[in-house]
Symmetry: C2
Subunit: 271 residues, 2 copies
């Protein structure tokens, strides 16, 4: 049964509020997803829920009621908070009235197995903007990638801005954090060639053979991909600029190259 | 000569602060660009400057001093504000210590001429997020587009978030606001076929002939491209999704389709 909470001092409310900070997410191993769609995706993906919070204002809505039913079936506590209190703990400007606390994913790079067929891996090296990290995870999912690997310098996967930008794709494909060294070992162990995307590269991405299993590395917004990756890469790829822009946004660059891989792999067959 | 300003009541300072609001940008016809790079791009593009403001803290830096010299050569007043006051009027979390007030572009859709060769036009229909609008302008520039047309429902071109996301590309190619009706007339008058990007379209973007002159329309984050465009479009294009994502971020979708056009037009020749 849904329990009503009135005070901002309630420990559940305090937990949700604390999880805005990476420090508390790291300590507890929890994170928050917000909004009907993300919560729905998390339920579908059989995530481990700790708690769900709804805004009393929205509790009567059909979609939210369906989600409440699912939480209650699974034994996850659901609490209702007055709209004012909900807005306080919400991380968005226009809250949809539902959020949930769930366990972070525990899979590690070494646990990932290579899927059948021609796998496509995406490595993000120290990408700082949570919107870019989340958007690239969404694009990687759409392009049929086997998984996304985030090096240590990336924006936190579990920050609200990142999870929202994934639009649920963080529940669709493996997304793991790892060190640069582990990434290199992963590619070596799997005999996986990897390509580095960079503005100073010599080859156009359109000239690379992206049909075969491979990983593609995208780097930091300012400084690009780190030296270690570039040194061991099979080929450094550039997106030739036709106009006067100096470079592309990294999430746009990732979309272009990952969908070139999808195109080479016969994307229009998936229509 | 640079004039020192100490008070937040100074009319120059008040002007800059007021331009954070669209209402005041519309009334005055001015907007603000911030940061070394954007200011530099605006100078290179011979924009009409009204005022430049620097933070006293940064006034000694070489790059900023070069910009000050250029403003003074051109007769644009430069004022120096204490760092605390500069941070107050800055629109960014970590200000670089320089901003400028300049005139909005006056060109209109009817003024745009078709460049030689195979022109590529980008129409943004009611795209709401300023980051998406700015990022697509940057991508359109990079892909060699002839210009970008924003319908009335788009995020304001002159908002700080939009101009920053363009990374200067708003100074490189024509960007005009227009109504949907004017857009349709523009395409009709120029016998320009246009393609609508949408999740429910029947054709893959990879199957369209994007070599010939054309316009591509990208729509609102939630509701897609408006009915009027879809009705008159030459072909509705979809980016087939390989994985489980429901859709792509609109700026990612634009990057994929615009660079498919560039690829078909022989992008690797521009290396």
């Amino acid at each position: 049964m849904t329990r009503q909470i009135l005070s901002s001092e309630n420990p559940h409310i305090k937990l949700v509020a604390s999880l805005r900070q990476k420090k508390h997410r790291d300590e507890t191993g929890f994170f928050v997803v917000e909004g009907v769609r993300l919560v729905q995706e998390a339920i579908t993906s059989a995530c481990q829920f700790e708690l769900a919070v709804i805004s009393e204002e929205e509790a009567g809505g059909l979609r939210i009621q369906q989600l409440i039913d699912k939480f209650e079936e699974s034994g996850c506590p659901v609490i209702a908070a007055p709209a004012v209190l909900f807005r306080k703990i919400s991380d968005t400007a226009t809250p949809q009235g539902i959020l949930a606390v769930l366990k972070q994913r525990s899979e590690r790079l070494a646990d990932l197995s290579t899927p059948e067929g021609s796998s496509l891996w995406v490595i993000l090296d120290a990408i700082q903007d949570p919107g870019n990290v989340g958007t690239i995870i969404r694009t990687a999912d759409a392009a049929g990638a086997a998984g996304v690997i985030l090096t240590e310098g990336c924006a936190d996967l579990y920050a609200g801005k990142t999870t929202r930008a994934t639009m649920g794709s963080l529940f669709h494909i493996p997304v793991v954090k790892s060190s640069v060294g582990e990434c290199l070992s992963f590619c070596k162990d799997k005999a996986l060639p990897f390509y580095v995307a960079g503005v100073d590269a010599a080859h156009s991405y359109t000239d690379a053979n992206l049909k075969e299993p491979c990983a593609i590395v995208f780097g930091n917004e300012g400084s690009g991909v780190g030296e270690e990756f570039s040194r061991f890469s099979s080929m450094n790829l550039k997106i030739p600029i036709v106009g006067r822009a100096e470079s592309l946004n990294v999430a746009s660059a990732a979309a272009i190259i990952l969908f070139e891989a999808a195109r080479q792999r016969g994307i229009s067959l998936s229509l």
